[in-house]
Amino acid sequence: MFDFGIVTRWFDLLLRQTCGLGNFWSIFIECVVVLLIIITLYALLAIALIFMERKVCAYFQCRLGPMRVGPWGIFQVFADVVKMLIKEIFPVDKSDKFLYYLAPILVITASIGTFSFLPWNKGAGVLDFNVGVFMITALSSIGIIGVFMAGWGSNNKYSVVSALRGAIQMISYEMSLGLCLVAAVTLTGTMQVSGIVDYQAQGWLIFRAPLPAIVAFLIFLIAGNAEANRGPFDLVEAESELTAGYHTEYSGMGFGFYYLSEYLNLFVISGIAATVFLGGWMPLHIGVAGFDHVMDYIPGFVWMLGKTFVLVFFLMWIRWTFPRLRVDNILKLEWKYLMPLSLLNLVVMTVCVVFKLGWHI
């Protein structure tokens, strides 16, 4: 497989030996470069996802979607971004200024933070701690605080109601999310993201321990949907109930942050599901040497992006089909069904690991 480590080591050598920079400067420059790459990738993926959503939504609804801005409408989202950048930003008079300005920053921080954990290729992961998975769930909690602060700080009754709903929903679904990841970690034996992907070299997790892994995968997708406030769980931003919810009072770039982070959260959820359960950048290996060899030729990030986009499409499909759940239905679903199910699943997974039931365990 193409190992991206070649490129990173070349760049590092370039800085240290050819330019003769010391330790501090070379690491500093590398961090800045990586930061720029992450932010660019974030923005581009957001644009791609927004466009994809509009087109997918249009085709589900028997219409065409953006068509006129550029051939087949591909520049539509660029026009949207340009417009959002130049909108007037005004401070709402009686809002709590500190919370009002801090909230979008927290949300985007959480979003970019979790985004940085996704492994793109062999050797092309940005953040790779030994407690990777744990950090992901921790970082996503910062987003919840951002939502809550936006609602409270806006000094608007609709925002407060929606922020309360949002907080309670996101806190609840974090439990199931975490438990599914714990089940996967039980199988792989490591929380480090690159370790999880390496473990799947002999087969993706959903093939290795089919029953518990598939259940964990599905629960992860449902809980992730709820975490990202998408699909049937989007009562936080319930468009037809509370106008625009917690970001009613934001305009211009502040609103742009929320808009982008919504789509990127969706991408991150799909990305983590693809990484942990579907093998990340690992190609499909079924044990037949010739087939595996052919699969290895396809580069890692094609696999990663492909799997993620398939999951994103699937989540968008769900969103555009189902009506919205009411808040007590959502909580009932989580606490009465998903949580006990994920706990049970964890037990089953442990049994599978201990007694080595499954394929290649």
Binding site: R54, A58, L64, P66, G73, F75, E88, I89, T243
Partner: protein
């Protein structure tokens, strides 16, 4: 560099009505000239703004249903990029007022308009918003929303067909494309400009672009014929027209080559409009 003619994809320039207003505006805006960098940046930003007009979901009565029909599968305004309708006025660019505005709703509507972030536009959809429509003689209807907010595009009809609403949106796109952004729409009004805008339009102020346009255009009040026409008025009109055509003929004779033979004066009724337009200005 010049502000170019606004182009709409696949609709030729001449098929739009009311090109004169836009041309006049463009001329005025071009007079000051603008440097190449800013001009191109303006063009780029206007491209972005005109293709991404997010409307506030605001439909009060029948025209609201036609607005929904424009968004649905058959007419589909999402091809233009308009399908993102935001519910919060702070995130919307235009307010498509579809439906009658009554006296009770008027302050609410004004408040919604005020809450919107600049740059913002208003499209008046349907007869009721233009002049009160079929309800003009009612005691509770605002006779035209331009008494409350400044309107950019009027789309007549009761209700206008979805194609008419799309046409109105395209006209708005053209208007956005010729605006001057830097130095025009993107600054916060200072106290003097605010004073001016309130004086110009009374109840509501004007947004930045509309203020610039008002200054450039000097729109006259529409002429409303309330009473019947009397015989004296017709005769007076006839005398005025005769005077005007006499003046036109004098100008023609002065401009023509004095060596040529005196031609019979051509009366204004046989000249076409095109000819009169080509007559050199005095």
């Amino acid at each position: 560099m010049e502000i170019r003619k606004p182009k709409i994809k696949s609709v030729p320039y001449d098929e739009f009505k009311d090109n004169d207003t836009l041309e006049k505006l463009t001329e005025q805006l071009n007079q000051g000239g603008t440097n190449v960098v800013l001009g191109n940046l303006d063009w780029a930003i206007n491209w972005g703004r005109s293709n991404s007009l997010w409307s506030l979901t605001f439909g009060t009565s029948c025209c609201g249903i036609e607005f929904m029909a424009v968004g649905c599968a058959r007419y589909d305004f999402s091809r233009f990029g308009f399908e993102v309708t935001r519910n919060s006025p702070r995130q919307a660019d235009i307010i498509m007022c579809a439906g009658t505005i009554t006296n009770k709703m008027a302050p609410v509507f004004k408040r919604l308009y005020d809450e919107m972030a600049e740059p913002k536009y208003v499209v008046a959809v349907g007869g009721c918003t233009i002049s009160g429509g079929p309800f003009k003689s009612s005691y509770h209807v605002v006779r035209g929303i331009d008494e409350i907010v400044p309107v950019d595009v009027y789309v007549p009809g009761c209700p206008p067909r979805p194609e008419a609403i799309l046409y109105g949106m395209m006209q708005l796109q053209r208007k956005v494309k010729i605006e001057r952004f830097f130095g025009g729409a993107n600054h916060k009004m200072n106290a003097q400009e605010r004073e001016e805008s309130m004086n110009l339009k009374g109840l509501h102020g004007l947004s930045n672009e509309n203020l610039a346009f008002e200054k450039l255009l000097h729109k006259e009040e529409p002429i409303i014929v309330k009473d019947g026409v009397t015989k004296e008025q017709v005769e007076q009109l006839g005398k005025d027209l005769d005077q005007l055509s006499a003046k036109e003929n004098d100008k023609d004779e002065k401009v023509e080559n004095p060596d040529q033979q005196k031609q019979t004066p051509v009366t204004s009724s046989t000249k076409t409009n095109k000819d009169q337009g080509d007559t050199p200005a005095a």
